[in-house]
Symmetry: C2
Subunit: 587 residues, 2 copies
């Protein structure tokens, strides 16, 4: 803090200047000692806390706002230690509003796709986005761990990474998938070194790793993982010294399985509760950080442990515990008033010393960020697509083995090999046999470059689904039972400059426009939820079996999930860490 702020806080603490705000006479959860301090008060001056103790009378002036918190518990604001707020689909201002209502006063977020689109200049958009919001936002510099050439072509140079790491609102290096680190990807290892030297975090992603591979990955200097899906995976990671981030968000909810950690005498000081990203539907159905902490308590975690997992623990992890994560003199006044240790839905949220919510409603409407023009033209495809663009030519006459993406769960794919016979030199899809096509089109490094493959598991009997919110690269994923509909869907996204669209027989069945960077819109969340539901219903009607078909589609371009994924330059063979073509005999 500045000397002038320190002087003011000291003056208030000593009773020489009045506080702006006092929370009086409730109980205060002391996350440091683990005690509930009965009848304590908190006095706030400007953005920070000046006094925490039994009697704040010396800090009261004629204009001091005094809030009676008797019978209530005062706790620190929640921190989401790992998120992806720019994958929200909806208006991120709506996310911010929901986050504030849920008592979230700080979010650590990835912003990979924005950096892939804008390069280093993304930091200006991000900083402008975060300014004046009722919560603190810290961003990860992307490590760009992918086999996708278009994304790698847009990865930040070491020079720009080092510049980013000097920014106070960059908390560290974003999640670096373990298979890339284990393959000794030179750029990633250098990025990790740079982040550690800057004293910043190195986020991990060790989904499915265990035993020696996990040991090797963590030996590289990774600091956390948000991917354990059961108590044993969580415990294996915690024992090896990293922070374990327990996820409850739109991708998965790990808390039911993590209840098995309770009652085993395991210290949870290096565990955090995180979302790993939420979308409007998840927010509506499952809530955000207050609901996450509540679920942890309801599943048997000690309430102090549960609250610490969303306050002190993440603050310590990110080296922010001198300012955040606890209620103490000199810290930012990010404070929640909740019913008690076992009921943590906030009745009041104080952010940066100001009342942000009262009686469960925002005090001020959410600030709507005006996105810059540079992120409003996210689909710069040089030409329209035609059905013929998605034809797959056989390399020779006669039977040939073809690699097929088999979507075996909503997230996991595997590689199948299918013997196919060309018809007029072309390999055809066959919806009746479950054989569809998928293509990924780049829209950042080399706009319009694309690759088409076969996919099974989606079950579409006709039509196509295209979406521009691809993970880990900036592109369009299109899945279809018909090349004409695939082209139509992609061309529709070219028209709207981003979105998700379900088409069949040349008609739009359902659609959500995402004109901001191809990832976001500026519609209210309720409309986004309705449109996502329409998309799901339309895809249900076409035969897709997924509860969250967008998620299944956008993860197709990510190397974070095994085993065979797709990008503009080919198939990504995760297990063998290489780009491959359609024909095993040829690549």
């Amino acid at each position: 803090m500045k000397p002038s702020v320190a002087r003011k806080l000291m003056s208030v603490a000593l009773g020489k200047s009045p506080a702006n705000l006092i929370l009086r006479g409730g109980d205060v959860l002391d996350v440091y000692t683990g005690e509930v301090l009965k009848g304590w008060s908190v006095a706030v001056s400007g953005e920070r806390i000046a006094y925490v103790g039994p009697d704040p009378v010396h800090t009261i002036g004629p204009r001091t706002e005094i809030i009676d918190t008797s019978g209530r518990l005062v706790i620190p604001g929640f921190i989401d230690a790992h998120s992806h707020i720019f994958n929200f689909y909806g208006d991120v201002s709506d996310f911010v509003a929901s986050a504030t209502l849920s008592g979230t006063t700080c979010v650590m977020t990835e912003a990979t796709e924005l950096f892939t689109s804008l390069g280093f200049e993304a930091i200006d958009e991000l900083t402008a986005f975060a300014a004046g919001q009722p919560l603190r936002i810290y961003f990860a510099a992307p490590s760009t761990t992918t086999l996708c050439p278009s994304a790698n072509a847009r990865a930040l140079s070491p020079r720009y990474l080092n510049r980013l790491l000097r920014r106070p609102n960059i908390h560290g290096l974003g999640e670096s998938y373990w298979s890339f680190v284990l393959r000794h990807e030179p750029r990633v290892l250098r990025q990790m070194t740079a982040a550690a030297r800057a004293g910043k975090t190195v986020e991990g992603h060790s989904a499915g790793a265990s035993g020696l591979k996990l040991q090797a990955y963590l030996a590289s200097g990774v600091n956390d993982c948000h991917e354990p899906i059961n108590a044993e995976e969580a415990l294996e990671r915690a024992r090896l010294g990293i922070y374990v981030l327990l996820r409850r968000g739109d991708v998965r909810n790990e808390l039911p399985a993590m209840a098995a950690l309770v009652g085993r005498g395991i210290s949870l000081r290096r565990f955090c509760l995180v979302s790993d990203g939420v979308n409007p539907k998840h927010l509506k159905d499952a809530g955000y950080m207050d609901a996450t902490v509540q679920e942890a308590i309801d599943r048997g975690f000690n309430p102090v442990d549960a609250i610490r997992m969303a306050t002190l623990n993440p603050a310590e992890y990110f080296g922010l515990d001198r300012d955040l994560g606890g209620i103490a003199p000199g810290h930012y006044a990010d404070i929640l008033v909740v019913p008690g240790p076992r009921r943590v839905k906030p009745e009041m949220v104080i952010f940066n010393g100001q009342l942000a919510t009262r009686d469960g409603a925002l005090v001020n409407p959410a600030r709507r960020h005006i996105y810059s023009e540079r992120v409003r033209h996210g689909v710069p495809l040089p030409r329209a697509f035609t059905p013929a663009d998605f034809a797959i030519r056989a390399p020779a006459d006669g039977k040939i083995n073809v690699r097929i993406i088999h979507q075996v769960t909503p997230l996991v794919t595997r590689e199948d090999v299918l013997e196919m016979v060309p018809v007029s030199g072309e390999l055809k899809l066959d919806p009746s046999a479950g054989l569809l096509k998928a293509a990924v089109i780049d829209r950042a490094a080399w706009p319009g470059k694309y690759f088409t493959a076969f996919i099974r598991g989606w079950g579409l009997q006709k039509g196509a689904f295209a979406i521009s919110a691809t993970w880990d690269m900036v592109g369009i994923t299109v899945i279809g039972a018909d090349e004409g509909d695939m082209a139509f869907a992609v061309n529709r996204l070219r028209e709207t400059q981003g979105g998700a669209v379900v088409v069949a027989g040349g008609n739009i069945l359902a659609e959500l426009s995402l004109p901001v960077n191809g990832y976001l819109c500026e519609l209210p969340s309720s409309e986004v939820v309705a449109k996502l539901r329409e998309i799901q219903h339309a895809l249900d009607g076409l035969g897709a079996p997924y509860a969250d078909p967008q998620l299944t589609a956008v993860t197709l371009s990510s190397c974070s999930i095994p085993y065979l994924r797709l990008c503009e330059s080919g198939l990504m063979d995760i297990r063998n860490h290489r780009l491959v073509g359609l024909f095993p005999e040829l690549s």
Copy 2:
């Protein structure tokens, strides 16, 4: 870590390269989860740990050294989170050797006096000192919180402070006494801001503060305190969010009183065990970090908590927990083998991947640092002192009130006012009435500048005691019953370029030379202990009542202890935060 190190560690973890060293089959204390992992092993490659788990067989190569740790507990190396290793008197190499034998693999130390002597260039001496030692040493940049003008004249400029804070071996800003912060000393507040901005620690010193003053002090952004002397003071600080450093060193041992913290359900995650400095006598009598952790255990602290207070907790506090403080892949291999959770005297110490001790003995002799010439001429007094130099002239004829330093305990002084009558215009000491003289002479900013005052409490019937190891400023303190002996003692230190000397009637009764910066010598600790004992006996014989007369003498120049202290420019009135002269009516 460098990418090449990460690659090597991963290779070892995966069994593709052999480990250098394996600790096999003991129990491993997991400070993260709090578990003792039975029959686990640790594999080390180079400086770091590659693998921690139940079976290291895949890391064994033909030249791997395997140490059987069965029946033993493997724990992280100890960290002393607050020390003053350059106030050791003896050869600091001996300190290092004792520290290593005690399992201390990291020390955070102040180096105020070296910076006051050398300015910014002290960092070169410190860095050279630390290089190649069998423990990591981090230094604090001094805040120079004192009323002493000569020390303030040598305080680091903001520019140099910022340069220092960028050094990885500078852990933060050194202890800033609370009264200076509460007085809004502009330089100190700016220094604190700079340290916090650099992401580094701001060390506190809130001796005796409580209630509103403590709240105000902590609101300024201070991060720790090593001064609580009972459980209530410790708890008051812990609740307010700072790290509480429990001291056991040559100044005090707080652990007997801190046992009252046990059994109250208080989380100790933000408590650390520290020395606040040791001298050779303390090391010999009371031991160092292993003895401190052992005493904590013996006084009832949970052994896992006690060990964490000297491992994980300080590592987290200093933001070093990605490298230190626990046994985990990727961390430095700073490891102790101890008998078990309740007996922590190390049988073996591994530092930076190498065996440092075996069977309680050093593997390699301590490296002796060759101090540079610039710290070998620490007493540059321009001329010899004469008895008349210590005369005190009365400002007028007749009775006059005079400020007297009253040494009421070995550390605390108070201000007495005595009505005195000049004799031939001079105010005289009176050993038979307990009235002696004390002078402090600067030897850094303005060598030879001095101030003489009266002191009572020391009890000398004759002779004088001079010592150059003054706290918080670089000077000489001399206390005497005779001005001739005072001059003789000071001149002797001018001859030896630093030390402690007891004289009487023009004879040297006992002496320890401290030719390095006036603070240190290069004698073995056993000789230093003997000489300190001779000094004490000599002072006993002259009538001084103190068990550690050096400490009483050197703290006379420090503003860290109330109430009336002495520097080259006058008396320092701590309570009123001002420099005063001898005569209350005149200043």
